[in-house]
Amino acid sequence: MKELFAILIGAIFVENFVLSKFLGICPFLGVSKKTSTAVGMSGAVVFVMVLSQAVTWLVNHYLLKPNSLEYLQTIAFILTIASLVQLVEIVLKKMIPSLYKALGVYLPLITTNCAVLGSALLFVERDYTFIEAVVFGFAAGLGFTLALILFSGVRERLETCDIPKAFKGMPITLVAASLVSIAFMGFASLIIP
């Protein structure tokens, strides 16, 4: 239980996927303009991450490891995640249309979210058990949510600021992102006993 808690806190704050591992920067910059879209995207990411962690763990443990084919992880995981997202989309459309509508366009976008693949490759590196891997995926998703919502708040404020012309748009966004990232470095020394 203690280990799971350590993984949870670790993945949300200490090694936040977006702000200290720099994974998933594309959606981080792309859909953080408004808090409402940021929440939609984050919900979809948490959902897919938990599912994909579970499935990729099974693929890795029962298919790749016994045949010592660890070098195929990247391609096998991409294949798995992409099909999984498609499958989730099809099933949701039929079974839970309300959730499908709420996640909307963000669900297919996640297929190419490197944070999902990154978390899959990381649990292999760290030799997590099934439960640990799923918790890790959930926590990484929460970390992504935290980063995205915090940053969308920053960006909404930037909208009304008097920004020099040369910095308008993407430049000031990147500067702001780096500052938020520096703030998260403060968590780096947070070690859980």
Binding site: V59, L63, A76, S83, L87, I90, V91, T160
Partner: protein
Amino acid sequence: MSVIIPVAIVSGLGLFFGVGLSIASKVFEVKVDERIEKVREMLPGANCGACGFSGCDGLAEAIVNEGVAPDRCPVGGASMVKQISGFMGIASGEVVEKEARVMCDGRFDNIQLKYKYEGIEDCHAANLLSGGAGTCNFGCLGLGSCKAVCPFDAIVIENGVARIISEKCTGCGKCVEECPKHIIHMVPVTSGFTVFCSNKDKGAVARKACKVACIGCRMCVKACPSDAITVSDFLAVIDPEKCTNCGECAKVCPQKCISDSRVRVTA
């Protein structure tokens, strides 16, 4: 031999997922009504969201599935409504084309300023500072938040008051939602005489705030031959459905806050 196993595993995975997906798409197939596609093509495709749905796709679905009237789309105009109604086999009814109108004439020569506003050019921000710089707390702030959201460039700010250019306005209603003072209203394009005031204060207070404020004196109510005017909260409101554009109200108004928007000359 060592080559075959990895190749087999990866292609096996691919095959498994491929077959799985195609089976899933058959099992979980959601039948899409082909009428939605056709109605979608008839809509303007501007995706402005003025109908209240998430773009034209959303409205098309609502028209087909929930029986929403096609005139929810204010942009397409009468011809589009007729086309969709014909396709869906429903009576279109009389289509009332609407446009937005700013119910305020608090130009700088009609009001005084409480203080000098030097913040950002945004009505919402100015509104937070004791309801804006002008003496009238109901009036237009003139900082152009409505102008910024107008997708059709139909709004100009003249002498501190927003004015909507009737020819350019499509009636999408975005400015109505944006205005923090809620003084932009949707009215039928045929309606002429309008009370250009939103002040709900008592007569004396309103008169102090603005030279052309409605003081709720009921002169127009008495003068109106078709009972189209009502006064509530010391503010006259003209019901465009009853109004015949006779102009009697504008003649008797002591504050000159009623005028014909069709011939209105602004500063």
